[in-house]
Symmetry: C2
Subunit: 153 residues, 2 copies
DNA sequence: AGTGAAAGGTATTGGGG
DNA sequence: CCCCAATACCTTTCACT
């Protein structure tokens, strides 16, 4: 599926605020509300639009700590890798899992209430695995930007 | 503002799918639609709910590359730091900006169409600044998880 | 705070160009 | 693939508990 200039405008606006009404989109883009509706439905069907989510302020709900972990494995065999990856993904405090190559193997980003919670998670996720060589913990002093927005040109 | 068990249930569901209707929330939580409505409005007013966004599949719109940069500064004077931070935040291809302390100063996560786009951005963001000591580029082979969801217990 | 019902807005679908 | 109009659905408000 090829996106035209209208689809890109729709996505750009929805990425900023998914609650914008299709009528408002319609007037901003100069396309009827029903055309907007059909395009959005098509993009959802194709998986271009993955979902719509509410963004919660982590500080205001008592989870102010963001931690980055760089994890190195002993053995990079695919099945072992997948097993660990699944475990990381399933952990609800883990917001991001990137599999990388180079000086380490996984970069994880955690959101936690406090350092104790993080320590508990490292025990669960890292120390119980035979395959983790080591990990480096980096505490974020400030989450200056945290978005999932994609550029559409 | 203190969140009770109903607010937390509402937020948990909205973080998964912000398009769930208040009526459906109402039946899942056993609270009337108008109570749901008032609670959501209050959490928006307080900034607990920051916004609602559509999540776009970066691969499907031709932006498959995620890159992590670890940036080290020469001088960590606050005004210089803020100037750089602002520049990073304003770059639309930069999804995340974390200010950290330790072996480096900023961790950035980019989403780009290809390596050429990233190289262009490093020239713009890093090489034009007098204050950047060095940076390390880590290419993500797989974005196994990428969410903003916060745990509410 | 919570509820139910009425009023006001939106999304969605179908007919026609 | 677009528009317009009708329907169906949802949110929001209000009077009352």
């Amino acid at each position: 599926m090829k996106l035209d200039v209208f689809d890109k405008k729709i996505l750009t606006l929805l990425q900023k605020d998914s609650r914008i009404s299709q009528r408002e989109l319609s007037s901003e883009i100069s396309l009827s509300a029903s055309a907007i509706n059909r395009r959005i439905a098509a993009m959802e069907r194709e998986g271009i639009i993955k979902n719509n989510v509410t963004v919660v302020d982590a500080h205001k709900v008592g989870r102010p700590i963001t931690i980055i972990s760089e994890v190195s494995l002993i053995n990079e065999r695919l099945d072992l890798l997948e097993k660990l990856k699944k475990r990381f993904i399933q952990c609800p405090q883990v917001q991001h899992v990137y599999y990388v190559t180079g000086d380490f193997d996984f970069l994880l980003i955690f959101n936690v209430r406090n350092m104790e919670e993080y320590e508990g998670l490292t025990r669960e996720l890292f120390f119980t695995s035979e395959n983790i060589k080591n990990f480096r913990t980096i505490v974020s002093m400030q989450n200056a930007k945290q978005e999932l927005t994609v550029v559409l040109d």
